[in-house]
Amino acid sequence: MTDPPGPLTPEAEQELMRRMISGDEDAVRELYGRFGRPVFGLGLRMLGSSGAAEELTQDVFLAAWRKGGRYDAARGRLSTWLMTIAHNLAVDRLRRESGRTPTAVDGLDELVEAGGIDDEEAVLAREDLRRALGDISAAERRLLHLAYLRGWTAREIAEADRIPVGTVKTRLRSALIKLRRIHGKAEG
């Protein structure tokens, strides 16, 4: 796989999705070139095996094709839309197949240490994430880990950590807002 090219304008993202849903193979390759690695990486971390991550990746791009007519660049970035699809599919699979059994995924602290790809964009993204995670508390990091990577609900986290559900919600929101601040930098 070649390195992902630079970011697209909203108009170009909309056009890419228009070509993709018509079955244009070049458009599918471009979308995969941009997001294949983060989608596969998310699958690996959440589902714990290369086989499951491959299946997830294929499912995500098929879902993107099926739902592509609903993508609206004016409402948000393509990366957010596609990674939301990927995450939702991974959470569904986690809940369906393993219930609450923890999978062999790394925590958020380990996530930023993840290697395997040394292209500049990935390194920058990890640096951004490291800085963002440095801004949030250990409690917020644990919440993101349980909610985002393990698919736990706020109530389940509250019961496990013996804290009020309201506190879970507040911390989660605060952590996401801090992470969002770096989103622009992560994508340029």
């Binding site: 995969y32 596969f40 098929l62 409402r75 957010t80 995450h87 909610a147 985002y148 706020a154 969002r180």
Partner: protein
Amino acid sequence: MTVDCAAVREELAEYSVGALAAPRRRVVSEHLRGCAGCRKEAGELAEGAAVLALASPAEPPGGLEQRVVDAVAGRAARSRRRTARAALLIAAVVGVAAVGIVGAMAGRVRQAEDAAATAREHAELAAERFESVLEGVGGAGPVLSAPLAAPGSEAGGRAILYDGDEGRDFALVVIGGLPSSGEPYEAFLVSPAGRRLEVGRLRPSGAGEHSRYRFFAELSGARDLVVVDAEGRTVQRATFPGA
């Protein structure tokens, strides 16, 4: 911001990280369809969540790209063939249904209420045939169907939405029993935010039947279908289940 907004916003962080249990997730999704303010906030939180996903790339196996391309291109080609077949079948059934209705009515004199009741039955039958054809053709999405009704009126009919692949969604309206005044009725799909999409003009026969269908790029947000008269008054409404 409404009371609903306050409750929904309290849950948006959980929603954005996929940690909201299914029943509430559906409630929040439904609210977001019709509320630009909450949708904006949900989008911002989703951007934060996406950072976590984007920052953990890993190199996939070499053959995965080709498998993804083959899967998407294959599904797109099958969808094109299926949509073309569906369009032909729908056109054929529309023709047959119209002939059947006209034939059944020809030469018969009925009281107005009998005609309306018969027309409603015919509309139901025609709609069932459409649904059965659409389900037989098979599609990526569901067929949503809802009866057309108006308080205190004998008029009937049915509205059908078909969630197709590749942005080829489809809306069908069959009316029965509406008075034929010479002026056409118009059918519109209505989004939760109140935006209207025209389905088409309806000119009922003497007994009040007529059907109209139209392809759309995307209908996933449609909640109601309304039929309005020449003065713009809503004379019939269908609300889609689970829409």
